[in-house]
Symmetry: C2
Subunit: 579 residues, 2 copies
């Protein structure tokens, strides 16, 4: 049903400096590139990655003793210290991760990649690593965008990437309960293919779906593009088996229980810091008999979010519901061509299920959207979005090749807080980009920005925050493009997903760190969560205490100490190390 | 919309030996009483509770220092050591709890009842109790049926019941987000009345609704009779504030988050062992515009559960869906009169929501139930169930007065495990009751059991397990009535709720302990959860390790130690004490 554009076996089939398979990459379209260069008033600049031979990759610190002990568990063929294996497990896939790699910095590469064949081997690897003081990074799809694969090395003899690619089986299908048992190394497409053979679907399709693993979905509390219909990943997990340094932990005997706290919810979102998920039991659904996607134009973001709120609170949501703001719509990243919507905000609605349900729900949604002033754009707009739904990371690679910077961040809040959260984060991003622009004019040339591709929402550009505070620097071009969409909707609130595109300039990693910090502060101060579905990793850790309190951090530390007494699992990821 | 039969202020308006207000009690109907006596072949025996003056209530151990320190926090009027206050917070409302009280045993009564006015006073009370080594029982509605209010006293200077009745306000209504903020001491009816003034409902109505508190709903992962439509209580909680001995803990900034494990799920189900919930933020819904309840007759329990499974998996569930097995239907406890259904299984379906939705869902459900051979019994059968929905605990009091014993237990499992779970638990209960009957013939008289009120499902009585293994004893009458219903349905499985009615005989508490242990073992061995919505307390603790593993218990201990380092909160409840 969906186009899979790349191999699904594991990251060894992908480019080491970016996303996906080599043949899936195309350069940035010339019209888009020219438009961005003019908007940002920057000269053309090609910025390809360095060659593999130019990489700064430290020698592996894995001792002979460790190598032999690990090989004794998994077999010599499954302990890898070659450059290709190590570089491909170096960090995750945030833009900062990629920029470092593209510049030749593989300093965070693991010393070895170990590929166990099953649960017992994972347990044994953990014992070896605890004994020899090796840090362990559980590695699924390697698609973290929050530093979830870059542990602190201090105090360890080395870092081992525990790649779960060989745990890739669908092991049981309970068709009556609509519950399947599978292993964590399965990537999205492989899992769906295996389920389809039994007439089922998980329906979980985040943008990283082609490469992300089912274990990673669990470890990061992933949320798919169809969360409105199929639910967040955590809501699909009925059971888990976890290999921890303290032993095996199995959870989940029933659809629901009152036998104390729901401890499955401690494993979900544990980001490899508490244990290695080696088995999952998941709720699945029958493959949808009917599928329909369509586009709508709403007059503005406020009208669109109000309509989504009504749909959610009246239990009338489509399977997929995503609303782009004016800027994202105008930029053509909402599922249509540039300016295709003649202004306003693009909303994509998708319906998957029994034929009767699809027809009835489509009609109910049309009534609500029509009453909200929405204009139907037909099925082609929806199909267009479906075709491009996994395209974002490839586009980012093309932008990075062309001297541009692109990154995303996301949050969620209750409906009453959402307008303030949206405005504050957007304005903060624009202001921070403007400040960066003012501080780094060297790589820009003077040119007027074209209409319709500025930092503020369309129609607000002239008086909007893009111009505010930029002074002389802003006159040289827009500081960046700040776009937003709502893609996960609940009765009580929604997510906000921001995409930033701006000139790469010098030292883009440090620049983004400052911009992201300003946005994160805005999120925390406006009452949003620091992450709706990207997880904590290392990047969001400075904001975690504001979210869960000192007691929350103390609880995470206590749980980690119980399950991982030597602290070998992803040290410094998720759980702040005691100071 | 619902008949509230008792005061809702706090348990001080209730009878000390049973359920609800004194004027809400009526004796067991003569026809039912005669039928049961004949079925069980027992002589008439009135077993009223002892008088309040006959109670064994130990003198309060509260020291003058403690009394003054507590009074210094909450004021002298809110520290109570009188017999009435203490007896009314003695244990919960399991049948064993009531039988002990009715026999005059108030040995577990707290030494004092303290009623704080707000969060800061709760924190201060906890500090006093930690300093003076007093165990603290957070007390909401006092309706625990699993020993959740009977902590271990060993090592403590005394036990304080921390009654949250004064924290009874609805403090904020966010109509846009459909999120309200309230305090934990609100009972079900008071909360609904406060919400109704704003046009909202929580929709959470467990059988204990008249007296249970909203804090208790959270602390025990309660599930309401309308869970199919409104969701389990845990799914309605978006935020919590908890007073712990280690300080204040606030959780929940957004409808959903990936900021690590969902720590709210540690507080939910924590049964007062981690902290005192002092504020909740809850998802509410608009008051339903339309309401319709109806009855159906299904040919058997298997056909009925299959139909419920189809409804759940096709997302077509009514708001209330409960199916009684043949015995419960025949006994008239399924919402109809005795034998009113002419055999088969009674199913109650309730619909609450927008008028269009009620009509459409009712039609969709009728199609599924009709195809499953269901026969509609009309609205009166549904209305009858609504009228009696909170009646169970009053009926139990009447049974206890009449020399009978009545108690419930519950579990849940995946659909594929449900038939085995049902049969095994039912047969185990019948066999255990038969063994108890054989061991205690002294209070029985010889008489033949009438048809239709035996231990097995109707139609199986002759060859069923009731007769098996009972030998000579069984000839004297049925050993008991074992009934079951499904009341909480999920796409992946369902709950099973068993009700046992049998002769009281001598030492019924010890007898039930043996019967319950056999049933609990059957649940664990057949893969069910030890409790779907009654919680762990003290009673289910022997089975907790089987459910969450040694590591699960270790995690609970670590979390408790972090939040309650002196272990003063509900010692021995939920978290097994280290041996």
């Amino acid at each position: 049903m969906y186009v899979v554009t790349a191999s699904t076996t594991n990251r060894s089939g992908t480019v080491w400096w970016g996303w996906g398979a080599p043949d899936a990459h195309t350069p940035l379209a010339e019209d888009i590139r020219s438009l961005l260069e003019a908007a940002f008033a920057v000269a053309r600049q090609d910025t390809p990655p360095v060659g593999l031979d130019e990489l700064h990759l430290p020698a592996s610190s894995l001792s002979v003793e460790a190598s032999e002990a690990l090989a004794g568990v998994v077999g010599p063929a499954w302990v890898r210290v070659d450059a290709g294996s190590r570089v491909r497990r170096c960090r995750g896939r945030s833009t900062a991760d990629l920029l470092r790699l593209r510049a030749g910095d593989a300093l965070d590469a693991p010393d070895a990649v170990v590929l166990p064949a099953g649960h017992d081997e994972v347990l044994a690897v953990l014992r070896v690593c605890a004994r020899l003081r090796l840090a362990v990074v559980p590695f699924g799809g390697g698609t973290s965008v929050v530093g979830g694969l870059a542990p602190a090395r201090g105090g360890f003899a080395g870092v081992v990437a525990l790649d779960l690619a060989r745990l890739d089986r669908l092991t049981a299908v309970d068709a009556e309960s609509q519950v399947v048992t599978c292993e964590p190394g399965l990537r999205g497409p492989a899992l769906e293919a295996a389920l389809a053979a039994h007439g089922f679907t998980l329906g979980h399709r985040p943008q990283s779906w082609e490469y992300a693993s089912v274990g990673g979905f669990a470890a990061t509390r992933s949320s798919g593009q169809a969360s409105a219909g199929y639910g967040r990943f955590d809501s699909l997990v009925v059971g888990l088996r976890i290999a921890t340094p303290a032993g095996t932990w199995e959870l989940g005997r029933a659809p629901a229980s009152a036998a104390g706290p729901d401890l499955r919810q401690l494993a979900l979102g544990s980001e490899g810091a508490f244990g290695v998920i080696t088995q999952l039991r998941l709720r699945v659904r029958p493959l949808p008999a009917a599928t329909h996607y369509e586009g709508w134009r709403l007059a503005g973001f406020a009208a669109g979010t109000a309509a989504l709120r009504e749909l959610a609170q009246r239990d009338l949501l489509p399977t997929v519901a995503r609303l782009s703001d004016e800027t994202e719509t105008a930029a053509g990243l909402a599922g249509g061509g540039i300016g295709a919507d003649a202004g306003g905000c693009r909303l994509i609605a998708g319906y998957e299920g029994e034929a009767d349900w699809v027809a009835a729900r489509q009609a109910a949604v049309a009534e609500v959207l029509g009453a909200a002033g929405g204009v139907p754009l037909g099925a082609e707009a929806g199909t267009q979005w479906v075709r491009g739904r996994f395209h974002g990371p490839y586009l980012r690679d093309a932008l990075l090749d062309a001297g541009m910077f692109a990154e995303t961040l996301e949050t969620a809040g209750f409906w009453s807080a959402l307008p303030g959260l949206y405005t504050r984060v957007r304005d903060t991003l624009v202001a921070a980009l403007t400040a960066e622009q003012a501080a780094g004019q060297t790589v820009r040339q003077a040119a007027g920005p074209p209409a319709g591709a500025t930092a503020g929402p369309a129609g607000e550009a002239a008086a909007g925050p893009a111009g505010a505070g930029a002074g002389e620097a802003a006159a040289g071009g827009a500081p960046g493009l700040v776009m937003c969409h709502v893609s996960h909707v609940y009765p009580t609130g929604a997510s906000l997903y921001f995409t930033v595109v701006c000139p790469g300039r010098d030292d883009p990693v440090a620049r983004w760190r400052r911009v992201k910090a300003a946005a994160s502060r805005a999120i925390v101060e406006t009452g949003g969560t620091i992450t709706h579905h990207h997880a904590v990793g290392v990047d969001h850790q400075p904001w975690l205490t504001a979210e869960i309190g000192d007691l929350g951090v103390a609880v995470l530390r206590a749980v980690k100490h119980t399950l991982d007494p030597d602290g070998i699992l992803n040290p410094g990821v998720l759980v702040p190390r005691a100071t």
